[in-house]
Amino acid sequence: MTHTSWIQFLRQRLFATRVDAAITLVCFYIVWRVSVPLLQWLVLDATWNGTSREACRGDGACWVFIRARFSQFMYGQYPVPERWRVDIAGALMVLTAALLSWRGLPFRRGATIASVTVLPLGGLWLLYGGFGLGIVETREWGGLMLTLVLTVYAGLIAVPLGILLALGRRSRLPLIRFASVVFIEFWRGVPIITVIFLASLLLPLIMPDGFDVDRLARAILGLAFVVAAYMAEAVRGGLQALPEGQAEAAQALGLGYWRIQRMIVLPQALRIALPAMTNEFISLFKSTTLVLIVSLFDLLGIAQAALADPAWVGMNMEAYVFAGAIYWFTCFGLSQWSRLREKRLQAAHGR
């Protein structure tokens, strides 16, 4: 920015009128009063090195606590010698996401299909075990790893289910339409806390004797159903935005219903609905904190459990700030990626 545009900026955006100038000064003062102590607490006065509570003498944040329990925040109670499996699963996930975002990906169809079928199963194999790897029960999973497992697997179930529901809601078969509407409105109308509770309590009851449903699986199913209902609404928005002519033209060409959906309608509708779907995904990520209710120790749960450790009393702020920061950056990152994608698509479609 040149010298004159700085002045212009100040004059137009900050000090345009006398009232404006006063507001600017007041805001500035408030920001100053808040951010300086915050920065001091967070960084300047904080203790970074040490091994135990006694090392935290200063006024600032005691990040020693986080460093000491960092592995728990990330892995929960996952056995230390097996943690490489979690690392590989995590790396795979990031790699897949990066590859799929790459626009010039060769064999895109194959890659997409593989990433929603083979890779999740592979990830599950890595995390849980069996067939050559030692079994690590889900009760030992925790921390950020558990949060990501919940999000990814609930999302993987929710998206196809949501698409089916959205199509069902627009179906010409009255019963199917009715069933879809009932399903969607039901799961959208109840709080997620009750759904997780419901899944935890009711799934064992409705299963035949001897058939045990893993606790983590129950939470994932509960979350998946709720998110599927929200996804269905997002996809419905996309379907509605698509001009009717597309489907009608395909019908005129003699294509069957599922062909039309698969080759013409859904690719376009999903592209339109992608921002809304990403929003729901971010919501899902935040909703995973609720599994605290059923004693599953996700990132927030591990933070709370760490606070109960008598060796580290009074570290409330540090624990919550750390966990909160992880959530914030992940969600913010996801929403920025979504915005960038939207811009790219709009440029591409010239809209």
């Binding site: 728990q72 064992p204 606790r215 209710i293 450790d309």
Partner: protein, 347 residues
């Protein structure tokens, strides 16, 4: 022909029980839970989310405590190895669904025996492993010496616990007003009390001794000595599996009996080899085949005492003088020494 048919039928009717009898003698009532435990290879135990002294996991994930010791005894009795047990931490509210849905085989979670739980939840108590007494913890500065001084105060408690109802009843009987705030988890209630939301927090005196270390400044708090109710606590099983309940009950009895007969983890081998006391010999499996009657090996009680210890050893190590809680035996002593623990005879 018909006559011979009748004779054959009569003969088989008489012979059948005679032939079947030896076979039936070896057959015991089926126990779904025991079969599941044996198939699984470990016992599933429902415990507290973290109550020092009773069931608490350190940051390496190792569990210890009085209830944890009970779980270990059960594993030693059933599977011969006290380490073959996995713990499911549950909150006050979750413990019932977790037991009812067969996710755990037994609940060792300092749960108080009450009528309504027995009658409406489909659960049964298999003995008493700790005589708790309910009291309050207050700030020393508040200068409270008796529970009635808490009138007009606010009390934090875990929702769904017996302490909640007992405290409410106690104050109501005496026409004293008090506000009770109930939280979903004990730790939330303790936290809120510590922050000053309440004037007192109520739990059992043993539990309070353990939870004391969770306060920011334990010296600023004082546990009252006045007990407002006696809460016997013990292992809990679900209805429908009598043989498993039998095993759970007699595992606890074996631990107490071992202390009554002076069998400790140190002298158990010697006692097994040398003791002439008939009951000791039956407990340790030298004679009587008591283990097989339950579907376990005859070493069941021997394994308990050898790997975990008798009741007294367990108590001292987890909540007694050998621990941080330093609770005296009090009612948790053998009845011969003035306490309330006794066990039916091993005959």
């Amino acid at each position: 022909m018909k006559f011979y048919g009748l004779v054959a039928a009569a003969a088989s009717l008489i012979a059948a029980p005679l032939i079947a009898a030896p076979a039936m003698a070896q057959q015991l009532a089926p126990s779904e839970t025991l079969d599941a435990v044996k198939a699984r290879g470990h016992v599933e135990c429902g415990v507290h989310l973290g109550l020092p002294g009773f069931s608490f996991a350190n940051d390496k994930g190792e569990w210890s405590g009085l209830d944890v010791d009970y779980c270990k005894s059960l594993a030693a009795a059933v599977l011969g190895d006290a380490t073959k047990v996995k713990y499911t931490p549950t909150s006050v509210q979750q413990r019932w669904p977790v037991l009812q849905s067969k996710q755990v085989d037994v609940l060792a979670r300092n749960t108080t025996i009450t009528f309504s739980r027995n009658a409406t939840l489909g659960v049964d108590f298999q003995g008493i492993n700790f005589y708790e007494g309910q009291t309050f913890v207050v700030r020393t500065k508040a200068k409270v010496s008796a529970v009635k001084d808490l009138a007009d105060g606010t009390i934090c408690v875990a929702a769904g616990s017996t302490e909640e109802k007992t405290a409410a009843d106690w104050f109501r009987e005496r026409n004293l007003k008090v506000t009770i705030i109930n939280f979903q988890k004990n730790d939330d209630a303790i936290s809120a009390y510590d922050q000053g939301r309440c004037d007192a927090y109520t739990a059992g005196i043993g539990a309070l001794a353990g939870q004391r270390i969770k306060f920011k400044n334990p010296e600023e708090h004082q546990i009252l000595t006045e007990i407002i109710s006696n809460d016997p606590q013990g292992p809990v099983t679900r209805w429908g599996d009598e043989r498993w309940q039998l095993i759970v009950r007699w595992t606890l009895n074996a631990q107490i009996a071992a202390e009554a007969f002076g069998i400790t983890s140190k002298n158990v081998d010697e006692m097994k080899a040398k003791s002439q006391n008939a009951e000791v010999r039956r407990i340790l499996g030298v004679e009587g085949k008591f283990g097989e009657m339950m579907g376990l090996s005859n070493d069941w009680a021997y394994n308990i005492v050898k790997q975990v210890g008798n009741y007294g050893e367990s108590y001292e190590r987890t909540v007694g003088m050998g621990s941080a809680l330093k609770l005296k035996r009090g009612s948790n002593e053998l009845w011969t020494k003035g306490g309330l623990l006794f066990t039916p005879s091993f005959q």
